[in-house]
């Protein structure tokens, strides 16, 4: 910290971090806000994970053991909502805050006060949402997809609070994305042309546009729910001339791009880590950018593949099947490029690289099941079973979440100034890797054998794989405490990190000291430091 003060004092008289709690409440510093987002995300990850363990405990054996079906439904709903909106999305926003200004050579985010506000909305939104569980009638119990009319006419009274919480989260997301776009478009250092931007910056730019496009749709659909519940409208009520399927179209028009919102920044992270530890430039940078843009475009025209069983016309089914299958092409290009980057590199396998490699393998497995799910007639069998649960957890846990962990290990020395404990990091990786596969791989079998999702109890032929899955769940869950320990240990000290940290690391963030001073790039970096990726 003393080094930080010396540097800032030389430039300015008052711009060190403030002391105490007000530092965090009033901060407009992108690094502070990034850290706030990341800690918030980790807290939500543990809370959502605890809910998941309640689910896995109940499903350990057939029969009702610990909780009632009504509470089970609240657990599945809250687990989904918290993981999507509380854990994965804020983690990426936190990484964006920390890294985008450092990567493009900007002094801070373009709109620092709005940045503060978009973070501080979140704790309030989630307090409201979690508090619904203590209200009369319980919290949301209709799944994170909250299909009407289960979520309107038949919903518990607390749904109104849930709607308000979603509005607040949406406002936070939209402000965060405006900030990312404004920063990337306006604050790149001289010489940082678009096609020299690190892929993390590119993927976030595209993600931010997706967010701005679809968050208002989510806000619209929950507002329609609010009107159906309180103001006598019948948007989704068939008895009043409304259309329950309309809800699903609107929800998935938001929901499918949302899926890519949670994975595109992960592509960016992996595209940074693999070249570093392969000591070789990323293969096919241009095609990576175009593939990301194609995936983002396609994400807007595939939403109804979540709804193959609602009874769409044949032409609709065929269109959404073909469009969905197309996504495999740009996604395949990305995977091939990562493999080509590793090919004939000189690889080492530190913790971030292990997580990145696991990402490539396991995310691709989620991609394979994604292509299978696109085949409409086969989807009639897979839809709403554990096969789908396995599919999206493979994409989101060893996909998005592993990339976030990879990022945490990769940039932690830059954030704290110390190297993390590599042995513990690797232990964390291997336990997580084994746990996550024990947890989710058997769910493919469960789904194919006919187990529907979102049920608190199941027929006896599903017993074996369910207990394996539960054992994996507890292993994975408790392994995350190692990550917490490693991060705290790294903040408190350790081997001093160099400025570059990793032998093969490229990019502007590695040219500033470790830990990164409170203010960086107050003057633009030397254009000679900016290389093609």
């Amino acid at each position: 910290m003393s080094a930080t003060h010396t540097i800032s004092d030389a430039h300015d008289h008052h711009h060190g971090p403030a002391k105490g709690l007000t530092r965090w409440l009033y901060t407009t510093n992108h690094k502070d806000i990034g850290s706030l987002y990341l800690w918030f995300s980790f807290t939500m990850f543990l809370l959502g994970g605890a809910f998941a363990l309640v689910i896995r405990a109940e499903l350990f054996q057939p029969g009702l053991q610990f909780i009632e079906p009504a509470f089970f439904n609240q657990m599945t709903t809250m687990h989904g909502l918290i993981m999507v909106f509380g854990a994965v999305m804020p983690a990426f926003v936190g990484l964006a805050n920390w890294l985008i200004p450092l990567m493009i050579g900007a002094p801070d985010m373009a709109l620092p006060r709005m940045n503060n506000w978009s973070f501080w909305l979140l704790p309030f939104a989630f307090t409201i949402m979690v508090s619904t569980m203590f209200m009369e009638g319980g919290g949301p119990n209709f799944g994170w997809t909250f299909y009407a009319p289960l979520s309107t006419t038949y919903a518990p009274p607390s749904t109104t609070f849930f709607i308000f919480a979603v509005h607040v989260m949406g406002a936070s997301s939209i402000m965060g994305s405006i900030n990312v776009i404004a920063t990337i478009l306006n604050m790149r250092a001289p010489g940082m042309t678009f096609m020299k931007m690190p892929l993390f910056v590119w993927t976030w730019l595209i993600t931010a546009y997706l967010l701005i496009a679809v968050m208002p749709v989510l806000a619209g659909v929950v507002t329609m729910m609010l009107f159906d519940i309180h103001f006598g409208t019948s948007f989704f009520n068939a008895a009043g001339g409304g259309d329950p399927v309309l809800f699903q179209h609107l929800f998935w028009f938001f929901g499918h791009p949302e899926v890519y919102i949670m994975i595109l920044p992960a592509f960016g992270i992996v595209s940074a880590i693999i070249p570093t530890f392969a000591r070789k430039r990323l293969f096919g940078y241009d095609s990576m950018v175009y593939a990301t843009a194609s995936i983002a475009f396609l994400s807007f025209i595939v939403w109804a593949h979540h709804m193959f069983t609602v009874g769409m016309p044949l032409a609709g089914q065929l269109f959404f099947m073909y469009a969905t299958m197309l996504i495999a092409v740009p996604t395949g290009v990305k995977v091939f490029n990562w493999v080509a980057t590793m090919f004939r590199g000189a690889m080492t396998f530190e913790t971030p690289m292990l997580f990145a490699i696991a990402f490539v393998v396991l995310f691709t497995m989620g991609g394979f099941t994604g292509v299978m799910l696109a085949i409409t007639p086969a989807d009639f069998q897979y839809h709403d079973t554990y096969f789908v649960v396995a599919h999206f957890h493979y994409v989101l846990v060893p996909g998005a979440v592993f990339s976030i962990m990879a990022a945490a290990y990769y940039w932690l020395p830059k954030w704290t100034g110390y190297m993390y404990d590599e042995t513990l990091g690797k232990l964390h990786f291997w336990l997580s890797f084994i746990g996550v596969n024990l947890l989710f791989f058997p769910q493919h079998f469960l789904g194919l054998a006919g187990m529907p999702r979102r049920i608190p109890d199941y027929a006896l032929q599903f017993a074996n794989f369910n207990w394996i899955s539960s054992v994996g769940g507890f292993l994975f869950g408790f392994s995350q405490l190692i990550l917490l320990f490693v991060v705290i240990k790294c903040i408190r000290g350790g081997k001093k990190a160099t400025d570059q940290v990793w032998e093969g690391a490229q990019g502007l963030e590695w040219t500033v000291p470790s830990p990164a001073p409170y203010h960086t790039f107050e003057t633009p970096p030397d254009p000679k430091l900016i290389h093609a990726q």
């Binding site: 054996q61 940078y285 027929a459």
Partner: protein, 382 residues
């Protein structure tokens, strides 16, 4: 380390438990091939795309692990410097595209066939309710009695709550299964009375949402007589996990016999409903019906789960004017999970459940409601 020790302990314990209890220990890995042309086509599509994925996986992960083994710094290799090749990018864009076209063609064919519900020989309406199914057979001529009935989970609460050993078809058994003839094109017309459900029988490769205000159609030609089981697939509230589907496919002649039996049964109930019921009969039958239809929400002892599911013990509606009790049961409470049972249960069943509710859980009205009263109420324009 404690968590690890616990893990091994739980592994060992659960292994022991599952082998010693002699449970129906299935390790089903794959989708059933099923008993219809549609289900076999679906299975073939599933296996084709699966093997494509395996093949691509072997190539891609093979290349990756080969690099991981051979191109590591500890082996003293120097990294290459190549970082782009338009030719390679085009190749690995086009090859997946061609594979996808190869998959899309059979998928389109199967899907198109699935949509042809024309020329059905029997139409059955399937209506989803929280949390049961109604099956209604479309009559060929209006002189026939309309065969329609509700199909409710028959697994006992004791099994679910681990009070007694679970039966072989735990959670996949119902009181009255859907009966259809084999070798006959049966069309299902699906809708819902409340929230969205999904009717799914894996052996038929049919999964279709039942949506309030919409009628979805699908069809099946079952080739093998047998019992086929499925479950509701769309989250539909608290008891979503407890509304199974059981289909009995009978040879056409057996089906005709069954259908005739149903006709006779309906006439018989109509006659019985005219007879007087004793308190004991009503209470005994009422308890059975309560445990099948009501207990999920109103709970054992009628305590309910306020505020969503009100208590029956001491409730004004259950103990006050009998017409109010009857109205609540027959017409349901719109906008809540309380369904209209007027059509779900026959007058004898309705009368006994009303008597039961009014004389149980500490309620003590002492009156015995007769099937004739219920009939009069329903026919009197309610």
């Amino acid at each position: 380390m404690l968590s690890k020790a616990k893990l091994w302990l739980s592994l060992a314990l659960s292994t022991l438990l599952f082998w010693s209890a002699g449970l129906h220990a299935a390790w089903d890995l794959n989708m059933p091939r099923g008993v219809t042309q549609m289900s076999r086509d679906t299975y073939d599509l599933h296996m084709t795309i699966f093997w494509w994925c395996v093949a691509i996986g072997v190539v891609v992960f093979g290349a990756m692990f080969w690099s991981i083994i051979n191109h590591r710094k500890s082996k003293g290799v120097q990294p290459a410097t190549f970082h782009e090749s338009t030719k390679v990018e085009i190749i690995w864009t086009i090859i997946p595209f061609l594979i996808l076209i190869a998959m899309a063609i059979p998928a389109t064919r199967v899907l198109t066939a699935a949509y042809d519900a024309s020329e059905s020989e029997l139409d059955v309406q399937i209506i989803g309710y929280q949390w049961r199914w109604e099956y209604r057979y479309m009559r060929e001529n209006m002189d026939e009695e309309e065969v329609s009935f509700f199909s409710v989970l028959s697994t006992s609460r004791e099994e679910i709550n681990n009070g007694i050993e679970k039966g072989e078809n735990y959670l996949l058994e119902v009181d009255r299964p859907l009966v259809i003839p084999t070798e006959t094109k049966v069309r299902f017309l699906m809708t819902s009375a409340d929230v969205i459900h999904a009717w799914w029988v894996p052996d038929f490769a049919i999964k279709k949402d039942t949506i309030p205000g919409f009628i979805n159609e699908t069809w099946v030609i079952v080739e093998e007589p047998g019992i086929y089981r499925g479950q509701c697939a769309e989250l539909c509230g608290m008891e979503h996990g407890f509304m199974p589907i059981e289909v009995h496919a009978l040879a056409p002649a057996d089906y005709q016999a069954w259908y005739a039996e149903q006709q006779a049964g309906i006439r018989q109930v109509r006659e019985l409903a005219a007879a007087e019921m004793s308190m004991e009969d009503a209470m005994a039958q009422g308890e059975t019906i309560y445990n099948r239809n009501c207990v999920a929400c109103h709970q054992p002892g009628g305590v309910g789960m306020p505020p969503v599911f009100p208590a029956l013990a001491g409730s004004v509606k259950a103990t006050g004017d009998v017409a109010v009790t009857m109205d609540t049961l027959v017409n349901g409470v719109p906008g809540t999970a309380m369904a209209a049972y007027g059509r779900q249960l026959n007058p004898i069943e309705l009368a006994s459940i009303i008597t039961y509710v009014r004389n149980s859980f500490g309620n003590n009205t002492g009156d015995v409601v007769q099937p004739a009263d219920v009939n009069a109420y329903i026919e009197g324009g309610q």
